[in-house]
């Protein structure tokens, strides 16, 4: 679903899904909503995602202007990720997804379940 061609689709839903519709992106966005995080902190909060995939997803989200990547030329290097306004505006949608799931599939966990 993250294929770039879908971002050119005529349907706004399809275009949004092209940005949001991969396994980890909603979780990454939600995790970054609470505070700016460094790469390692993000990885620590999502132990099930491999570092390669996390890197890939972060790069795509940056290209879509969902998040901001700030690299500091220090040793050891430090990179901070944070949501842009465009990314912050996705949070109500993610919130509704949580609520829909809890309403129709029982209260298995909270949105913080990661």
């Amino acid at each position: 679903m993250t294929n770039d061609t879908f971002k050119l689709d005529k349907c706004p839903m399809t275009r949004t899904m092209a940005i949001l519709g991969s396994k980890w992106k909603p979780v990454i966005i939600y995790t970054l909503s609470k505070r700016h995080l460094r790469f390692g902190q993000l990885a620590a909060q999502m132990p099930l995602i491999s570092r390669k995939v996390l890197t890939d997803q972060l790069k795509e989200l940056e290209e879509d202007n969902i998040l901001l990547r700030e690299a500091y030329n220090e040793l050891p290097p430090r990179v901070e990720y944070s949501l842009t306004a465009k990314g912050l505006a996705l949070l109500p949608i993610l919130q509704q997804m949580c609520e829909w799931n809890k309403q129709f599939e029982g209260h298995v966990g909270a949105c913080e379940a990661r």
Copy 2:
């Protein structure tokens, strides 16, 4: 993203995305929101989806109780699809996806753009 294992994920967002996150499902749900439709009518309104994929997606949505499939034993056969309450409850989320896209990526088309 439609893998069944994701539906067992602890995160409610991931579980919702496992149901909603494929190329055509949002469009199918939106198309069915206006009225009950037969298989051929659905296919006609979404000329870009192949019949095999449409069948697959409808089957999955039925298994997830998003839509209702009613088959009439006539000749020629007739099958009608409609949204369940659970499926109808997804519409506000899809609506928000449309609005988010239009707000941040310009007004390329309406939700009806299919």
